[in-house]
Amino acid sequence: MNIVVCIKQVPDSTHIRVHPVTNTIMRQGVPAVINPYDLFAIEAALQIRDTHGGKVTVITMGPPPAAVALRKALAYGCDEAVLITDKIFSGADTLATSYVLASAIATLGKEQPVDLVFTGKQTIDGDTAQVGPGIAKRLNLELLTYVSKIVAVNREAGKIQVERRAEGGVQLLETRLPALITMLEGTNEIRFGSAPDMFRAARAEIRTWDRESAGIEDLKKVGLKGSPTVVSRVFGPTPRAEKAQQIAFDPAAPQAATDALLEKVLAEIPKVGKELERHKVEAGAGANHE
């Protein structure tokens, strides 16, 4: 199996803060990590390789420091890595990103046909879940989103069966290869690479592709220029016109405060009163709890 996994390096969201004064994102010192959703894609790909043979290539489109994310993927056990980086790629939205990634995967396919492409469900910075479907459409791959389990792979027959999380249940799907899978979170656990893997990853050569080596045909489709969407405004949330009404609370007499609160709520927000009324009647019936 020749498997490609698309990963993205993202700022570790738990460390991002908004500057209280300028209302801008403070990026300084925020560590970059592999998009956590992509780890499930990496592990799924590695498991298929381990049972069916072949190789796993990780690719990312991003600035040169994104190589760190690729190296990390190699340390997990991926075999090869390609960094797709070029100044003209910057400012890309999902449409432009999927164009670049699709071109690169097609280029890899010329070396050896690609059987499977994996992406994460979504990124934690873009959060769109669009890049995977975008790549599939551009390469005319069968698309399997929100896959929760790889049920069977039959390379000779060129077939794959997966379980897919649908809105009201789980679909069991069968399709042909090549296909693109976006992997659902929580479906596996990324492995802990061995010490030799760490050495190999640290010393590995990471192929770096620019627009030419990535096989980009139409430069108008990449970066800012190739992106139909633009951000027109970034802003902080607006407070409600009125600030919350403060209910004085004295720890010595806690219920005085909560009684006063209930009285206020009942007087001011009839809908709550109505809802409570229902529960008065239903009292004892009990709601559905675990």
């Binding site: 738990t14 991002i16 989103t145 809105e167 249940g169 405004r233 407070p239 009404q245 109505k274």
Partner: protein, 358 residues
């Protein structure tokens, strides 16, 4: 979305529509149904679509897809009741169950034929799968997971607003020079409109010309979810939520106790879930459930934007936090500045007395 990396508002770029793009008119809403059941997010979008269409002075259209049968008729009628002027009914046995390729093809063809300027889908697994594929095929822009939709009065553009990054920020995204403008919106973000059964509209039947043998992906089985015992947060009218401020797992019991007295559902912030105090399916917020109860009690929750967007539509928000400058007080209705470990039991007693419960 592009330029998510821009920290500041960027120069306003003028929208310039040329040629055929000028012919794109009307607001569309995909009526999403799986196994005959319409996802309620579609009607919420219909309500929102009505506002946008009225502002633009154009038609609101529903797109109904599926296997031929009476269900599609019923769905069209429901769409009219919720505000649609017209419905495109795309019927084919191939569309019986959702699969990416035939749905993408049918919807793409429909757009190319009838040219809407705006197309809205639910941010469900189906909606996201379909929207991403259709947008790429059409080579147009798509904004995911919007929390607010509006029309720019100047250039009639769709302004799609959504939270961005991990920070406490929102951003507004526009689609320049491409049509249709696509957006997905999550369940319960928009209010459910009142159905008007007397409304009617025009049904346009479209044959998608799909052939089963052309479709490679086959559905071998479908196992519906077991809904019993699952929290029904999106529909709950009263919710008590706990956050990191509870301090430790044991204290979450105070939240359960209050909820039990009220007959309310229990929710949580992501931080509380990450701490392992409660199951992940109770998360409220951007990456959890969106809720709109009559009463929402937030105990020890700071009010980060990702939490806020999931619950700010509640009619009454009571926030308990020991930090008087906690952001949650910026949008709650009532504030108790105090230790939630002290306040929750008192609140439970107050409600118990009122409801006549022990």
């Amino acid at each position: 979305m592009s330029n998510a990396k821009t920290d500041k508002p960027i120069k306003k770029r003028k929208v310039k529509l040329e040629g055929d793009l000028l012919n794109y008119k009307g607001v569309w809403v995909l009526v999403e149904s799986e196994r005959g059941h319409v996802h309620p997010v579609s009607w919420e979008l219909m309500g929102q679509g009505r506002l946008l269409a009225d502002q633009l002075g154009v038609e609101l259209c529903g797109v109904v897809m599926g296997a031929p049968g009476p269900e599609l008729q019923a769905q069209c009628e429901a769409a009219f009741a919720y505000g649609a002027d017209r419905c495109y009914r795309v019927a084919s046995p191939v569309l019986a169950d959702y699969r990416n390729v035939p749905y993408t093809q049918a919807l793409t063809d429909l757009v190319n034929q009838f040219k809407p300027e705006i197309m809205l889908l639910g941010a469900t697994t189906l909606g996201r799968d379909l929207a991403g594929s259709v947008a790429t095929t059409l080579k147009t822009g798509l904004t995911a997971d919007c929390t607010e939709l509006a029309i720019d009065p100047e250039d009639r553009c769709l302004l799609s607003t959504r939270p961005t990054f991990g920070g406490s920020l929102l951003c507004t995204i526009v689609t320049l020079n491409y049509r249709p403008q696509m957006a997905t919106v999550r369940h319960r973000v928009m209010p459910m409109p009142e159905a008007q059964p007397e409304r009617s509209g025009l049904i346009v039947d479209v044959d998608p010309h799909l052939v089963e043998t052309d479709v490679i992906t086959k559905i071998l089985d479908f196992v519906p979810d077991d809904q019993s015992g699952k929290p029904q947060l999106p529909y709950a009218e009263m919710i008590v939520s706990g956050g990191k401020g509870l301090g430790k797992a044991e204290n979450f019991k105070l939240v359960w106790d209050l909820a039990k007295t009220l007959g309310a559902e229990v929710g949580a912030s992501r931080a509380a879930i990450h701490a392992g105090w409660i199951a992940a399916d109770r998360q409220v917020g951007q990456t959890g459930k969106t809720v709109r109860p009559a009463l929402y009690i937030a105990a020890g929750i700071s009010g980060a934007i990702q939490h806020r967007v999931g619950m700010e539509a509640s009619d009454c928000i009571i926030a308990i936090n020991n930090d008087p400058s906690a952001p949650i007080f910026d949008f709650a209705h009532y504030a108790i500045v105090g230790d939630c470990v002290q306040v929750l039991p008192a609140l439970r007693k107050t409600f118990a007395a009122y409801l006549g419960k022990p």
